[in-house]
Subunit: 381 residues, 2 copies
């Protein structure tokens, strides 16, 4: 899809778009001053305000150094498009970021997002973020794959951060399930971080989409990871927290989802596992849902009634099909030492003949057996 | 402790006590008709009513066959006491059973309970039930021991059902922690079921208490297990559900705790483990608490403020003690490729000199290092 194809008449003006390119390149992500100015004055007004010299700030200089036309041309040559508010592809969820509190002093709607890949972001209208620790356990890897595979196979795109651990498992399982998956990065969409995921990210950029608010070429920093997390939460219908130690960055994504009133879905794990500690602690604060499989995730993020997981009740047991009387008698047959028919009848408040008839039926059904001293359960040792 | 010692003047009359012995021996546990009659007419009135011949019921005959004086004498010779409402040792929580709905057609306050062991049941005023599957996993065994040991070591008795699996782990860990633990059985307190727990149950009867509403000599049946579960819930301040498959009997105990408005505390486990499926499914219905360690259990059942577990936050990290400026600069240093000081200063909106000074301090602190091309994180590969 070319950049032109997603630029309709009546969308954002070219001047607005170029102002947003300048802000995107020169301002660090999550800068609330800039996003507030854009909301109040529009991108060109925000840019003019930020260009005014301020003591101690290098920002005006950095803004002046950006050549936005050249930035867009270069990006387009690399198959990267810059999506801004007003574009049909602009995810409306990102606008919510202007209306919620900051998390760790970062926040606000980005001036625009850089996207590489053929999948229009409108397909994220119903989507699920699957996030968790980079250093996950085998259990976390398995569960992330199980849940992400179920979600993706049901046609719901899986969004994650392209990192090692849970992120990788989520992307990989979605691909294996034949579903769609999108990575949101803290660096430019033309960079591979971590470098071991070069092939994964190239595949996502070729088949689906890789997204960042950082312009092409940008390096990842801690601040950019934290700012990136708010995009993962804002782009999706809900965030699944698979594994997280007590200070995992995945909890930051969950905080953003909570701020944005998106469902946070916690996957429990062994209480003895430090990679589940952060998830349990988060959950115990209240407000999140506990999920144990993909169907429950789909139920939470899906349209009402679209996904109703069957309630799990254990397997039906042969005894469930017995008559009420036979069940009563069966439940009165001792587990250990045998009991005689009079004693069993007494326990059920039945006549001895009724109890004896029931015991006969139960014996033919293989439930009880007669032994010296009376009756006992057939299965008992 | 002799039977006499717990029979104060002004307590239940001897005739009431003997009527309760007859009902205890001849009526199956959890029989709501009998418990309702006892509540309305007292034990002697209930006994008179139940002695009236009813077509198809063998109960009057069974009631007539009981010799309550002999029952009490025999019990006393075995060190077993019969505790009834009005006795100082009678656990008031059992009276709650008369005022809640049945579970699986069983319910009501028992006519009395049979107790073997020196521990007065008044010590269960604050106590915790730890229950779960008989066929538990290694994980369940480990967590039951961890939680039960913490609870018991804090001076709070642990109550369970004396069964294999989670029950055994709960009792055993409480003993190892030097705490108190009580078994509530579905058979007579003079019987060992399962037989492999003969030594455990003998130890509990010698040092603490073994409790049952079944008179001495009674065999365990499925109905009696279900009826027993309501006593575990009613005798304790809250029930911890450690592991339970979808149809585990432990869920029945949790149902009773819920009916009785006692806290149900669910221990999460791997979502891939069928022994945690019942716990998670129960929890997702709502109303229960998620607990991950004994301190959280104590907080829930303890007196307000008596046990306040410290909130777990990950370990303090060296970077937490840095100045705000140094933290800002540190977070702007790229994780992968190095950045020069001008670029880092720009990310932080700091003067280049300020950023350079901060980088110097961070280098001395071992956080960053200078490499060809600029600065990068010291820890990064």
């Amino acid at each position: 899809m070319s950049v032109r194809a997603i630029r309709p008449a009546g969308g954002p003006t070219e001047a607005d778009r170029l102002a947003r390119v300048v802000l995107s390149r020169a301002v660090e992500p999550g800068d609330r001053t800039t996003s507030s100015l854009v909301r109040q004055l529009g991108p060109q007004g925000a840019l003019r305000t930020q260009l005014e010299p301020k003591p101690g700030s290098g920002l005006p200089d950095r803004l002046l150094q950006v050549d936005p036309v050249r930035e867009l041309d270069q990006a387009q040559r690399c198959g990267i498009r810059f999506v801004v508010p007003g574009d049909p592809e602009w995810p409306p969820g990102l606008d919510d970021l202007d209306h919620v509190e900051d998390v760790q002093a970062l926040g606000g709607t980005p001036p625009g997002i850089w996207v590489k890949g053929p999948m229009p972001l409108t397909e994220l209208a119903t989507s699920v973020a699957v996030v968790g620790s980079r250093s996950c356990s085998v259990y976390g890897d398995e569960v992330a794959r199980w849940i992400s595979g179920t979600v993706a196979a049901a046609g719901t795109p899986v969004v994650s951060g392209g990192a090692k651990g849970i992120d990788f498992a989520a992307h990989d399982a979605a691909l294996l399930a034949g579903g769609a998956t999108v990575a949101v990065l803290a660096c430019g969409v033309d960079r591979a971080y971590p470098v071991q995921h070069r092939r994964l990210l190239a595949h996502l950029a070729a088949e689906f989409a890789v997204v960042s608010e950082q312009p092409p070429g940008s390096a990842p920093t801690r601040i950019r990871f934290l700012a990136r997390n708010r995009l993962i939460a804002a782009l999706t219908s809900g965030t699944v927290l698979v594994e997280a130690a007590l200070r995992s960055g995945a909890l930051n994504t969950a905080s953003w989802a909570e701020q944005l009133s998106r469902p946070v879905m916690c996957v429990p794990g062994p209480v003895t596992s430090y990679t589940s500690e952060g998830v349990h602690e988060w959950f115990r604060r209240g407000g999140a849902s506990l999920v144990t499989r993909g169907a429950e995730v789909l139920e939470i993020v899906g349209a009402a009634g679209q996904h109703l997981p069957e309630v799990r009740r254990g397997e039906e047991r042969p005894r469930d099909s017995l008559s009420r009387t036979d069940q009563l008698v069966l439940e009165a047959v001792p587990v250990s030492a045998p009991a005689d028919v009079e004693s069993i009848a007494g326990m059920c408040a039945l006549h001895v003949r009724e109890a004896a008839n029931a015991l006969g039926r139960l014996e033919r059904g293989g439930f009880v057996r007669e032994v010296p001293g009376g009756w006992r359960l057939a299965g008992a040792g």
